[in-house]
């Protein structure tokens, strides 16, 4: 075994740092890690970066432009250097190597462009018409995110709480118990099954996922076709021994034809030092195969590919339309006895539709939310918003001072708000249901809703002598959900919030920042 090349070592270092930053952000059970950790890791994520740019065009959000430029220069280096799911697959591969002593691990496999481009077109078109589910299910960063949030995060929290419990038995309290992200069948099963699918594919066939399903891989593959630096086989030196091909996890080195399908190359650089003849080169603009006889059939093939792709697309769009129709139906079915017309999207998402259009459900906000009010949706947004986080006011309520979800969001689905702004954003409005209220049914004091209200939009008014009942001032309600969370009535709440389709700005509550001073002259007793 030859020692690693400088490029391989560099790749290893970069990927460990980037994936490390991302993993640490997802596993920050204290919800207090500096925001830059997440931002540095997620800035380089291709799909979130594109979405973030589309959501709010800014040069600062242009991580994907740099990745595209890098790809134009060096090929799909994103896939091996920056992508956390790529890192995961490499780890699976490395573990697999421990169990399998087979010398030739990989061999060349033919590309399946039909499936690949059909999937890419499907994903893009669906996203353009506002259905993010395909992106949610295929974006590598988001898959990795849900892996972390729903598989790793609970384990880390569990371990933390185990130790915390042991220490507290010994009267030591420095390790604080933490709350898990909670169990959500939909999110958990999606997370688990994608982990298994990607894992098994990586174990058996290297980067098959990246070269079949992944939209970032396919898109960057298109760009890398014209890359300036490329892996190339020196036809004069190549003996077609297949050594290079045996370490190629992208299975894109065709030793028989002595060429590299650079479109599928993930830029891992593992092949560079395998050739005994020095025939594998990473070089500036290698001579392209001469145009002519080989190119014409390729064109025809391309047309056939495109046709097949569109056929596949048409079928899928038709299927989705059927599903979209059931979607409306399922939304109706999801209406709670509290007659909620909309579930609530997080403050900073500006509105439900906009949020649904941009979020890839990576669940970084779910991991980062200190109160755990942000939970993955199942049908709350309908099929359209499958797995995208919503404000679950039965899980907790939104901390008035907190702006963390917007600060970590890599796609711009939740924009970062200043605290003063966030305190005025009205995501939904509280609705009081007098028929359910303890004050009305039992004629005893309650007011748990008003207690928790940070703006006193929910305030208490005279109901009967000595008895107060809640009343809502819509204009200053920010929709934090504290009232709904705190309401003790069963099975339905006496106060619930209804989401604003487009978020509004609440009026400012009475807000003077000065204490009066009145020290009593004499005690009144």
């Amino acid at each position: 075994m030859k020692s690693k090349t400088g490029l391989q070592i560099a790749r290893l270092v970069v990927s460990v740092v980037v994936t490390g930053l991302i993993a640490v952000s997802f596993l920050d059970i204290t919800a207090s890690q500096p925001v830059w950790v997440a931002n540095y890791g997620t800035h380089w994520q291709f799909v979130p970066s594109i979405l973030s740019f589309l959501a709010a065009p800014a040069i600062a959000a242009g991580g994907f432009i740099i990745i595209a430029l890098l790809t134009l220069l060096f090929g799909r280096v994103y896939c091996s250097w920056l992508c956390p799911l790529g890192f995961f697959q490499d780890v699976v591969g490395a573990v697999g190597r421990l169990f399998r002593k087979k010398k030739r691990r990989f061999q060349y496999s033919k590309p399946v462009p039909v499936l690949r481009y059909a999937l890419l077109i499907l994903i893009v078109v669906m996203a353009l018409v506002g259905i993010m589910v395909p992106v949610v299910l295929t974006d590598p960063f988001s898959i990795f995110g849900r892996m972390m949030t729903h598989l790793a995060h609970p384990m880390v929290t569990g371990l933390n709480n185990l130790f915390s419990g042991w220490l507290s038995q010994a009267d030591v309290f420095w390790l604080k118990p933490r709350t898990t992200t909670g169990f959500h069948a939909g999110a958990f099963l999606t997370g688990l099954s994608l982990t298994l699918i990607v894992g098994v594919m990586a174990f058996r066939s290297g980067r098959l996922w990246c070269n079949t399903v992944c939209p970032a891989g396919t898109l960057l593959g298109l760009i890398s076709r014209t890359a300036l630096w490329r892996i190339n086989l020196d036809k004069a030196k190549c003996t077609s021994c297949g050594l290079c091909s045996s370490v190629c996890k992208a299975q894109c080195i065709d030793v028989k034809e002595r060429k590299v399908d650079f479109d599928r190359c993930v830029g891992c650089m593992n092949c560079l030092n395998t050739c005994r003849q020095g025939g594998v080169k990473y070089e500036w603009l290698p001579k392209q195969p001469a145009p002519g006889s080989t190119k014409t059939p390729a064109m025809g093939e391309g047309r056939r590919t495109a046709l097949k792709a569109f056929a596949l697309l048409a079928v899928t769009v038709a299927m989705t339309k059927i599903k979209a129709a059931t979607d409306v139906f399922s939304l109706k079915k999801a209406v709670k006895p509290n007659n909620r017309s909309h579930f609530v999207s997080p403050p900073g998402s500006l509105g439900i539709d906009r949020f649904n259009d941009v979020c890839t459900a990576c669940h970084l906000c779910v991991s980062a939310c200190p109160t755990r009010v942000l939970q993955p949706s199942f049908t709350e947004y309908g099929l359209k918003g499958f797995l995208q986080p919503f404000m679950d006011y039965h899980s907790n309520f939104c901390n008035f001072e907190c702006t963390r979800c917007g600060e970590v969001c890599p796609t711009g689905a939740i924009t970062a708000l200043l605290p003063e702004v966030k305190k005025r954003v009205q995501t939904d409005i509280a609705h009081f249901v007098k028929e359910n209220c303890v004050v009305n049914t039992d004629e005893t004091s309650c007011g748990a809703c008003s207690e928790h209200c940070p703006t006193k939009a929910v305030h208490m008014v005279e109901y009967k002598p000595g008895l107060l009942i809640p009343e809502v001032n819509d204009s200053i309600c920010v929709g934090c959900g504290a009232c709904e969370y705190a309401c003790p009535t069963l099975p339905n709440r006496a106060i619930f919030v209804d989401g604003n389709l487009v978020h509004k700005v609440a009026s400012e509550p009475e807000n003077a920042d000065e204490n009066k001073e009145e020290v009593p002259e004499e005690f009144p007793f």
């Binding site: 204290t30 919800a31 207090s32 419990g165 507290s168 009267d171 309290f173 604080k176 118990p177 709350t179 200190p370 109160t371 907790n396 901390n399 008035f400 001072e401 907190c402 303890v438 039992d442 005893t444 004091s445 309650c446 007011g447 748990a448 008003s450 207690e451 928790h452 209200c453 940070p454 703006t455 006193k456 305030h459 208490m460 000595g466 107060l468 705190a486 003790p488 009535t489 069963l490 509550p509 009475e510 807000n511 003077a512 920042d513 000065e514 204490n515 009066k516 001073e517 009145e518 020290v519 009593p520 005690f523 009144p524 007793f525």
Partner: protein, 339 residues
Amino acid sequence: MPIRVSLASAVLGNEGVLLQEFLTFTLSEKINRMERRNFFKGIGAGLLAGGFLSHLSGNDLLGAAIPLPPEAYDMIAVKGGEPEVMFDKGIAAMGGMKRFVKKGQTVVVKPNIGWDVSVERGGNTNPKLVARIVKHCLDAGAKEVYTFDNTCDNWVKCYETSGIEAAVKAVGGKVVPGNTESYYKTVKIPNGRVLKEAKVHELLISADVFINVPILKHHSSAQVSIAMKNLMGIVWDRRYWHRNNLQQCIADMVTWRKPDLNVIDAYRVMMKNGPRGVSEADVTVMKSLLLSTDIVAADAAAAKLFGSEPSDIEHIKLAHEMKLGTIDLKSLNIQRITV
């Protein structure tokens, strides 16, 4: 130190208070050091002079009449000073912390840490007061002093923003999480009228001494939140209380375990929009502190300070009816101290 002070006040009665205040002032090294530091900073000179003046002009000087031992006072009411200074004087007048905490005992100091708001907002007990109480307990020989609350806002943020976690840790107390259900054990409340059982933080079951340190504030559900209402923070399921006659449940809980001492923080008093408050405009600085072993009397006096009649506050009235204490403040021996 508290012993000497209590001896002085026992021997000299109310005249002793002057001496005692003088002693507290001159002997307490910490205060001295603090004053000196301020003095050198050039901003403490006025404070120092003002301190002396207020000592000399305190109405206890003229109002001295019948000498009483500290145990004879049902309540100590202090006003006009910083929270920790008022507590020093108040606890001294009660006979010092050693009256409540014996060597080797475990103590729970239970403040109100319900909300993620700063000290100026008056939503949580003053951190300086809580820390000073913890300090007195440790000085009295307590084995461990624990502080916790089952908060309403996110507990980590409440502990942090209130300043209580840092202040208590700094003086050597233990800050215990209150958000984990496994800490709460079911107890029977045989004398409760509505509340027959509750899940209570295990520290309250095991601790030798229970010091209740609420902040006085307006409350949208219970009218006011003082000492009895603060006990809601030692139980797990508050929703049950809200569903089942909140005011009665508040009174019922007192029958389970009465605090050994109640210290009511009325330094910053939230007069409206309680219990969370909306802005600092809700708060009036009253610079007052009440100490009593009678939780009902403490609540009654604090309610008066708030501007309400104790008999108008449902849970205080109920507790009085259930003979858990008295709201008849005239029947009490109250020592009033002005710092």
